[in-house]
Symmetry: C2
């Protein structure tokens, strides 16, 4: 019979070996006692990169960022009790955003549960419906059958987490004291012969050819169609969808997270300023469509959502390899669980040459050019308002960099001011549940994978995950964080309650009066304050060589921000109205 | 039929009126859009004190602190999505620590769920087994039957949250746009006649007299008994248990959170230094007992836990009004679901005069005095080590103040150095799940109810909930925070892995090198650094008149801290060995 220490050591070592063989390359660990065996063995494995973050909430978002940027599952480890509960926000985001996470929580053994023992909560199915798989693991045991079991459990966890739609899985490990494994050099002496090492594969969902042909035949007769692309993860999608759009003569309304506004694919069919011009009511009437093909998550633009929802199109087709029901407007006529790229290619091959002289498509391109030019007029603003600042930062991002944006205002400003671009800039955000939490950590996790990385974030959101900055220090990471500090919740100024003075500042504006120069000092970050284009130039130049975190703070104004945005939208509206006047434009 | 706005206004107003009538006096709100109707109406109610905290995790711990200090349920409100997920750590703590919370989450209406809509997660039973009651609420509706329903739901929520064992309940409110209620002055015009207003009452569990008599008869023959008291909430318990102990001739081993070491009740039977002297193995053998009566949660002392678990006592009786199974050592012979105070009084009345000349009790008192004196020798230390600092801070706490302590080291130092005291000092901690999270917020919530309040906390724990400080600023609260900064996880230096150098600092020590002077500036707190008794005197004097948060930081040393504690315990051990030498001491 094996000794307790041997059980502890081999069981956990084989689990970790199983994770590594299944493709896990990184783990984020928060300090704790109950997790000691797994923590020491993770740190010991030569092929696992270990990151440390004390705050488990931030740790989980950091792992989310690693997995999002790498496309590979990241592991998480914490001790028992509320530590595990702190993972929930990132777990829900990962579930909704389809990010693979292997969540490992350590727990008291069974005899110490529901018995008043310290640091013990019910960790069984702690994340409820928000994980794809949960397993209550066996106690450490070095019997061969149990080593087989634990290696397979690791493979199973990764297989479940990665399969489309990807997401988090949760394994709860009971550990009994003593907790110290014989870790030193264990992976050099680990005997794996005869033990399972399972190759993991996953096919893509492809519709039967006759279904594709039927769809192609129906689309041939319909010239007034649009394609809408949100965030998606299908390989080769950008090229495939542009080819399809060109053949159909349909514009692609491309969300900033679709991957279409930047990088290798360029085409005039990519429409990037729809959020501005779809606020024009008469244009929305005139541009009524018969067909919409939708790929990926719902775009951030509310104007686009309303445009889509107001039309009872003959064909409203949602294509999702993850098989989700992505139709908040309740307008879908076809719900297709199929790989997006394969679908585009298959449909393209059923179509003839590109629809000739599509005036419909030309109209969209013209409107987009007009709207984009009007939006770009922000360049002439003398004041460094929030929109202008956003625009100027975007202009200065180096080719090959990554940009993570916060929720609430930043993602909307990105939508407004990130126009189709020659540079290859990877755009990232947490749009699973759109929380304002965990963004510093998510961005830092991504920065570990795809540097150089810039984060643009509002002050409340920055405050919410200030703790995330500790990971930069503990793990030697570089990041540039541009904080748009409008002293409170800027988005509420766009909502109906903005007209209510009573209670507004207390409940919604919540001015926190935070000077982030102090936060920078606390976490050993460099700090720059930006008040004009010169200082922005200097700060952005510093960012290119900075080591560690650099915080660039810009003070903006909530009320003015609303005015500037509304004026721009009005300008767009006027100009597209002029352009599209007359009955002939959209026909 | 009622208008949408009327539905929204009256439904929520009646719910809040229901909460107030059921005894809710405070609500903690985090800004959000979906929660707008409830937020505005809470702010409008004249009898609800509204507190604001942007970070929902901190907000929930703040509410926990309010409820803990006041003994009354506190309400919580947030928007949809990850915001609600951030409540889980405090919810699990509240469940385990038996603190009543009314958790209100706002949600998308049904038609926007599982449909790719933004900021939408599955909030149904989001907190799983960690709440006492969950209700998915109906959509706002002003029909009389629905106003009856919603008023009763409020009463039901409070009734469920308050009943022993108290705990959190969760109500999920779907709200459909538009979200703006007609809030202004609504409570002046609210018609409640004919609508339910339910009085809530709860009895205490009392055992049948014959069961008490049987127990009394058995105890009469057993002179070697001990009483162990942990944190409990039974009214009048302190007096009742001391009377019982005096009658039985049993010592009371009183955890610092039992309420027995400070305040109105004083008695030599109260033993406060057992954690030190129960580390002496031969003493543990000699002091073997036949009876243990346990009340409240398990004490923090591991030495005590081991002492209890090593004895197969004839009677090991756990009395808990909450009916929990508080026996991690698996030694109970009697598990009694009964009100603690009533049980003590009933048992006392079945006993005759106090056991005369109980040499057993005298021995305990003598050992305790010896151990306490040895522990107090820390006063003579010249260096301001962690234990000495703790001791000196305790000495300087004003009568009538409250002290909140962090987990890991502070609660253990409290156990070591808070001796039975004439001053009335309310001792508080989060010992439900013993997390290092949420402590700043919990203490601030308590500070709003029972000022002046002092918090003693380690650096990692302070870091974990730095965001909590924003609540002091947004809600004008006073608190003194003493940070023991030993640059990392001090408790790990007491665990077996401390002897392992490889990976230790990375995984367990985690030195974060944080200078909290910057945190103080960020949150507008006053800041003092303490390095000797003079500066401690000055800082503690400032604390008595300070407005807003005051942070007092002391730099300590992890390694030295272990040495100092071990030396003290050895001194205690030597001195009690001398005292108890010979066969006659314990007989």
């Amino acid at each position: 019979m094996s000794s307790n220490r041997e059980n502890l050591t081999l069981y956990n070592a084989h689990f970790i070996d199983g994770l590594v063989r299944a493709g896990v390359e990184s783990a984020v660990i928060s300090p704790g006692s109950r997790s000691t065996p797994m923590a020491l063995l993770l740190a010991e494995h030569p092929e696992i990169k270990v990151y440390i973050q004390v705050d488990e909430r931030s740790a989980a978002f950091f792992a989310l960022g690693l997995a999002k940027a790498s496309g590979k599952p990241a592991a998480l480890l914490c001790t028992s009790g509320t530590a595990a509960a702190n993972y929930l926000p990132a777990v829900t985001e990962a579930k909704n955003a389809r990010i693979p996470l292997i969540v490992m929580t350590s727990d008291r053994p069974h005899e110490l549960r529901d018995a008043g023992a310290p640091q013990t909560i019910d960790q069984n199915r702690l994340y409820g419906t928000h994980v794809k798989w949960f397993a209550e693991m066996a106690l450490p045991d070095a019997e061969e059958s149990m080593l087989r079991y634990v290696r397979i459990a690791a493979a199973k966890a990764v297989h479940a987490a990665k399969q489309s739609p990807a997401g988090p899985v949760h394994l709860n490990f009971p550990f009994r004291e003593p907790l110290l494994p014989d870790y030193d050099g264990v992976f050099d002496r680990l005997e794996t012969e005869g033990l399972p090492s399972v190759y993991l594969g996953e096919g893509v969902k492809v519709l039967p050819p006759q279904e594709i042909q039927t769809m192609a035949d129906r689309l041939k007769g319909k010239s007034r169609g649009i394609i809408v692309c949100g965030e998606q993860q299908s390989k080769g999608f950008e090229k495939a969808v542009v080819e399809l759009a060109e053949k159909l003569g349909y514009p692609i309304l491309a969300d900033p997270l679709s991957g279409l506004r930047s990088g290798g694919v360029h085409s005039p069919v990519i429409i990037d300023s729809y959020d501005a011009f779809l606020r024009n009511e008469s244009l929305k009437q005139q541009a009524s469509f018969e067909v919409v093909l939708r790929f990926g998550a719902m775009p951030v633009s509310k104007a686009l959502t309303q445009f889509i929802s107001k039309h009872a199109a003959a064909i409203h087709c949602v294509i999702d390899s993850g098989g989700g029901w992505r139709d908040p407007v309740g307008a879908a006529t076809h719900m297709l669980a199929a790989d997006e790229s394969s679908f585009c290619r298959a449909l393209s091959s059923c179509l003839d040459q590109p629809r000739e002289e599509s005036s419909w498509l030309k109209s969209w391109i013209q409107v987009n050019q007009t709207a984009r030019a009007a939006m770009r007029s922000i360049e002439e603003h003398e004041e460094l308002d929030e929109g202008k600042l956003f625009y100027e930062v975007l202009k200065r991002l180096p080719d090959g960099s990554a940009l993570f944006v916060g929720n609430s205002m930043p993602i909307r400003d990105l939508d407004s001011f990130f126009f189709e671009d020659e540079r290859s800039i990877r755009l990232l955000a947490n749009r699973g549940a759109n929380g304002i939490d965990g963004l510093v950590s998510s961005a830092l996790g991504a920065a570990a994978i795809v540097p150089p990385l810039y984060l643009i974030i509002g002050d409340l959101s920055f405050f919410h995950d200030l703790n995330g900055l500790l990971a930069a220090k503990l793990n030697d990471l570089n990041i540039t964080i541009i904080v748009m500090n409008n002293n409170g919740g800027g988005i509420f100024s766009y909502l109906p309650q903005a007209s209510e003075e009573k209670h507004f500042e207390q409940l919604f504006g919540t001015p926190a009066d935070l000077n982030f120069a102090h936060a920078a000092k606390l976490y050993g970050a460099a700090y720059e304050k930006v008040s004009d284009l010169d200082s922005l130039d200097k700060s952005m130049a510093k960012a290119e060589t900075a080591k560690g975190p650099l915080i660039i703070e810009a003070i903006t104004d909530r009320a003015e921000n609303v005015i500037v945005h509304r004026r721009l939208w009005e300008k767009v509206s006027r100009e597209v109205s002029e352009l599209t006047a007359g009955d002939q434009f959209w026909t």
